[in-house]
């Protein structure tokens, strides 16, 4: 009488991060423990359909994975992601004027929505943004009249008939070519790029300024935010992240190292130094320490897909803000509160400066962020439950369900719990991405990319 609901659809309906059982799907990257610095993954991003997954690394390379078309017959798993294209996006540069080396590390990748057969993405390092076109070639012309197949010209005396070349199929070739290079607009290190919902403009943000570009125009950009003080000695905060609103093309936000988020409306003035809204939560004085300023610095800001909320990540927590309420977040999730008593040693080993990112799932019901020891955390906003999972090669049988992990802050350590002191702070998950439509997640450890999906019936 009652329709038989599959487990999968039930879970999807609930949208619960915990009701989902996450399974290992794939891992990409070298196995050996000796990590070459150039292989360190620095950004991960799904495209708008989720079919493509791009990663950038410290060596300036971009690797794009493509999902296989789902095999309708074998519905027990979704398509795997395989390498689609690899290219060198940025090279190390040297600024001779300032005697500065410019790192080739890819800080951010952002996909443009697909308009034709080709795919476009923006990739940026500290100083330069590039628009890349990734196109497929699966046909080539054959049968030239005057040329041999290998390109040599035929002896004209042997040409007796007219032959018109035709396109014939060939092995798929994916080419990436830089279509635009947006350079020389940033004095400080670029930390964010964000494409506007008008799909014509985008912003790029460095420590002190935000510039607005048109995708077609490379020789100029508009400065829309400038927080550089007249006297650099008075500097108290820097911009740490910026993003356009997903629906309103006039609205963007930027976060600061002081833990504040400013929402700006470009209709208000050409230079948006005065915010329309300021989101700030008063500091809890009982938690004051030497490092209060560091841990309150926001490392990432992301709008929800709906545009109603935004999420910020600081060192110890994830906060969800309602755009209509500026004085405090509507939800706060502690990522690894057990680190609060370890801030001193985290300062010594520089881990306190790690910039964790965060992401929403497609329905905005679950948020995810990374932690140490290759742990990553998910918080279900509806059920208020959270889960800690580990990205490790130990569970590398496909469809192995991941076991939830638990960190024991103090006191007696239960079985299967991990004590804070045995966490490996060199294994950090800074970059995570969630498929826009499915429950597929990409989690980047230092030099490996893990893909997990929910268990399918």
């Amino acid at each position: 009488m009652f329709p038989k609901l599959s487990l999968r659809s039930m879970f999807h309906g609930a949208g619960g991060g915990n009701d989902i059982q996450w399974c290992f799907s794939q891992v990409k990257g070298a196995v050996d423990d000796d990590v070459a610095e150039a292989d360190i993954i620095s950004t991960v991003e799904f495209n708008h359909s989720g079919e493509l997954l791009a990663t950038g690394d410290k060596g300036g390379r971009v690797v794009i994975f493509q999902q296989e078309q789902e095999n309708k017959i074998q519905s027990h798993s979704r398509g795997e992601y395989n390498v689609y294209s690899t290219f060198q996006s940025h090279e190390p540069e040297f600024d001779y004027l300032k005697s500065l080396e410019i790192e080739e590390k890819i800080n951010k990748i952002r996909w443009l929505p697909q308009k034709n057969a080709a795919q476009f993405l923006l990739s940026t390092n500290d100083k330069t943004i590039k628009l890349w076109k990734i196109s497929e070639r699966d046909k080539r012309p054959e049968g030239y009249n005057l040329k041999e197949e290998d390109g040599r010209y035929r002896d004209p005396t042997t040409v007796t008939t007219l032959r018109v070349p035709v396109f014939r199929p060939m092995d798929l070739m994916v080419e990436a070519s830089p279509r635009r290079i947006f350079a020389n607009a940033h004095t400080y290190h670029i930390n964010s790029i964000s494409i506007n919902s008008d799909y014509e403009t985008y912003l790029s943000a460095d420590d002190l300024r935000i510039n607005l570009w048109h995708l077609e125009i490379t020789d100029r950009s508009f400065n829309i935010v400038d927080i550089k003080p007249a006297n650099m000695e008075e500097l108290t905060e820097v911009i740490t992240a910026a993003e356009f609103h997903p629906n309103s093309c006039n609205t963007f936000v930027y976060s600061s190292s002081k833990g504040t988020i400013r929402l700006c409306d470009m209709r208000a003035s050409a230079l948006c130094d005065r915010h329309s809204k300021l989101f700030e939560e008063p500091e809890d004085p009982s938690n004051r320490s030497f490092f209060s300023e560091i841990i309150s610095s926001i490392s990432d800001v992301k709008f929800s897909h709906s545009g109603r909320y935004m999420m910020t990540r600081d060192y110890l927590s994830v906060k969800i803000w309602d755009l209509n309420m500026e004085n405090r977040p509507v939800e706060t999730y502690q990522v690894h509160e057990y680190l609060r008593s370890k801030l001193c040693s985290l300062y010594e080993n520089d881990c306190i400066f790690d910039k964790f990112e965060c992401c929403w799932n497609g329905s905005d019901s679950v948020v995810m962020t990374g932690s140490y020891n290759n742990f990553f955390r998910m918080f279900d906003r509806n059920t208020k439950r959270d889960i800690t999972l580990e990205a490790s090669r130990e569970n590398n049988k496909p469809r192995t369900v991941l076991k939830p992990r638990k960190v024991c802050a103090s006191g007696k350590r239960k079985k299967d719990e991990i004590s804070v002191d045995s966490l490996d702070f060199n294994k950090k998950i800074l970059h995570t991405a969630w498929h826009p439509k499915e429950n597929i997640i990409a989690v980047a450890t230092t030099n490996n990319l893990y893909i997990f999906q929910d268990k399918v019936n």
Binding site: K98, L100, E101, I102, E103, K105, D126, Y188, H189, D207, L208, P229, N231, M232, E233, E234, L235, T236, E237, V238, T240, S257, P285, R288, S289, F290, F291, S292, E293, I294, S297, S341, L343, C344, S345, Y347, E348, D350, F353
Partner: protein, 404 residues
């Protein structure tokens, strides 16, 4: 503030981070350095507030032991090094964060503390043979003594004469702002007061000079005081073997760390010496102090090796930066101008040093206070700011310079 490290270690770690950020690939990361500067500020605030609490306690003990007139002499004696009024001193040194209570004490109280600080330094100098120059000068000028501080040194040292005068016997008088670019001739008492600081010739120096009352009691008073604790600021300089043939006692002496060449230079700014000697015979003048003072910017140099880094780091200054309230008068011109004024015949090292640009300059105002009450303070003038910086770095820390 639960932390496994004390404020000093935090300060040295922070400075090391700033230093190493200069050589990291990709250039200096503004964000990270800004955050480190906040830690520096916090650690410095805690350290200073602890120091003053301790000194106050000690002073209370001493006051019970000594006759009252010595107290007055102490104040007069130490006055040259303490130009700031409480209003200037408090928020800067102890301001921001949760140190509101520390701001409350009266000016006299704070001056007593500072005075005690100087006495401690002097005591320490007795214990450590390396002459450290006038304690007042050392105290005030020493903080200027980092590489970056070399640019501040003249500024801070420049305060000595003009502010020494008005404060003679009037320790509570607010800082006299005036630009005072050149050392004013001090009234006779001052040099005499300064001379006895030389641990090697306290008595001889005071003899020929007027107010004899000032010097001997001060000198005499020092020994009976409790021994300088190991944590006194003077100890930071203990690792620097200043050549004893330098008659540095009457000059302000600062130690500068050049982060490019890793050369530690003890720079002697001799105008105080000049003033000291200008008034009367000061035996210390004849002790091989280089030149008539002004020209001797050269100091002893000691090559700084990585192995000594641990030691060195303890002495690196937290301080410094950011003595300027936001929107305040430009501070940099003060420093640079004075440097030129006072060290015209700079040592060969000065060119290295002058090439170094302090990343913090007068610092991020974040270092001063999170919500600086600039409206409460009088518009800061250059001299005033220099004083603040000097006091901000009380403790004779050397300072690290970072080129941007």
């Amino acid at each position: 503030m639960e932390c496994a490290l004390d404020a000093q270690s935090l300060i040295s770690i922070s400075l090391r981070k700033i230093h190493s950020s200069r050589t990291q690939r990709g250039g200096i990361k503004l964000h990270k350095n800004l955050l480190v500067s906040y830690v520096l500020r916090n650690a410095r605030q805690l350290y200073l507030s602890e120091r003053y609490a301790e000194l106050y306690r000690r002073q209370q003990q001493q006051q019970q032991q000594q006759p009252p007139h010595h107290q007055h002499q102490h104040l007069a004696y130490a006055a040259p090094g303490m130009p700031a009024s409480a209003a200037d001193f408090g928020p800067l040194q102890l301001g921001g964060g949760g140190d509101a209570e520390a701001r409350e004490p009266a000016a006299r109280h704070q001056l007593h503390q500072l005075h005690q600080l100087h006495l401690q330094q002097q005591l320490h100098q007795h214990q450590h043979p390396a002459p450290r120059g006038c304690a007042a000068a050392a105290a005030a000028g020493a903080p200027a003594g980092g590489a970056g501080a070399l640019s501040e040194l003249p500024g801070c040292a420049a305060l000595q004469p003009p502010h020494g005068a008005p404060h003679r016997g009037q320790p509570l008088e607010p800082l006299q702002p005036g630009p005072a670019p050149l050392p004013l001739p001090l009234p006779p008492p001052a040099p005499a007061a300064l001379c006895p600081r030389d641990p090697r010739s306290p008595v001889a120096c005071s003899a020929p000079s007027a107010p004899p009352g000032a010097a001997p009691p001060a000198a005499a008073a020092s020994p009976p005081a409790s021994p300088a604790p190991a944590s006194s600021p003077g100890f930071y300089r203990g690792a620097y073997p200043t050549p004893s043939d330098f008659g540095l006692h009457c000059s302000s002496q600062t130690t500068v760390l050049d982060l490019d060449t890793h050369v530690v230079t003890t720079v002697e700014n001799g105008y105080l010496h000049q003033d000291c000697c200008a008034s009367a015979h000061c035996p210390c003048c004849g002790q091989g102090a280089p030149g008539p003072g002004l020209a001797s910017a050269a100091g002893c140099k000691r090559k700084y090796y990585p192995g000594q880094e641990e030691e060195e780091d303890d002495e690196e200054d937290a301080g410094e930066l950011g003595a300027e309230p936001p929107g305040g008068a430009p501070f940099a011109p003060c420093k640079r101008a004075r440097f030129e004024d006072f060290c015209p015949d700079s040592s060969p090292d000065a060119s290295n040093i002058s090439n170094l640009i302090s990343i913090f300059g007068s610092g991020f105002s974040g270092l001063v206070s999170r919500q600086p009450d600039s409206s409460e303070q009088p518009p800061p003038l250059n001299g005033q700011l220099c004083a603040k910086q000097a006091l901000a770095s009380l403790g004779a820390w050397t300072r690290a310079i970072v080129a941007f």
